[in-house]
């Protein structure tokens, strides 16, 4: 799978929920590359902004992670700013500081 084809899939599924890929294409491609690198290293699409532990423990951070809805709702973007809400879909400079929402105990 190429970063481009992964983005295509992610874009289609995100749009069903009213979310969009970030307007900065370079950033999206780099994030998709990182996701694929994680797939290669760990066997699953672990969020590139978080440290992978094992499939067992990382079910919540397989992209799209379970924190995406809440983050987009609160900040307008997910933790890695790969996905944004409709309001920011055309803004290539929208990079809010999104605080980590994953409970620390989920990392153990």
């Amino acid at each position: 799978m190429t970063p481009q084809s992964l983005l295509k899939v992610l874009k289609a599924t995100a749009e069903q929920k009213g979310y969009f890929l970030h307007a900065d294409e370079e950033h999206c491609l780099a994030t998709a590359e990182s996701l694929l690198e994680n797939k290669q290293r760990y066997g699953y699409l672990c969020c590139p902004c978080r440290l992978a532990t094992s499939l067992d423990k990382d079910k919540d951070i397989i992209c799209p992670c379970i924190y995406r809805d809440a983050d987009i709702h609160e900040y307008g973007a997910c933790f890695c700013t790969l996905f944004v809400d409709a309001e920011h879909r055309d803004d290539p400079d929208f990079f809010p500081d999104v605080d980590e929402r994953r409970p620390p105990e989920n990392m153990d």
Partner: protein, 153 residues
């Protein structure tokens, strides 16, 4: 009656032993697999690992990062463009025990365990790509910014 009790106890013992050995062989298997997958550390990684025990104490900021995260890349770009001297350790380049120990270390400074986590000399901690916070921290510590970069800007 007595015989039944003995048989039950014996069966329980056999089951417990089987479970014990099964677990041991499983964990032994995963350890050796992990070791197979973990290439030896480079001298540079050994040094970073040692420095990470007391980040910031040698007078330089210490950044815990991931090779894949955007905030880490942006922070690195910012520090490099300001000629800052700092240590950079990519936690995802370590495996097994080193990796979990490093993660514990990160969480001792930043309970959320997010990246980048930058420990500054003096103990201040900056989490995420916070240009403003970094600027304040770095420009107040002249040892970190090379004088030439100030002359150039």
């Amino acid at each position: 009656m007595n015989t039944t009790v003995i048989v039950v106890v014996a069966l329980a013992l056999v089951a417990a032993l089987a479970l014990f050995f099964l677990r041991r062989s499983k964990s032994g298997g995963s350890t050796s697999k992990q070791q197979e997958n973990s290439p030896a550390l480079t001298p540079e990684q050994e040094e970073l690992l040692a420095l990470s025990q007391a980040p910031g104490e040698d007078g330089l900021p210490f950044m815990f990062a991931l090779t894949t995260c955007r905030h880490c890349k942006k922070t690195k770009e910012y520090l490099d463009s300001n000629d800052a001297k700092y240590h950079l350790l990519y936690v995802d380049e370590f495996n097994g025990r080193d990796r979990s120990d490093l993660m514990d270390k990160v969480r001792s400074y930043n309970p959320r365990g997010s990246f980048p986590t930058i420990v500054l000399p003096g103990g201040k901690v900056v989490v995420g790509f916070r240009e403003q916070l970094l600027r304040e921290a770095l420009f107040h510590d002249s040892a970190v910014i090379a004088e030439s970069s100030q002359g150039n800007s």
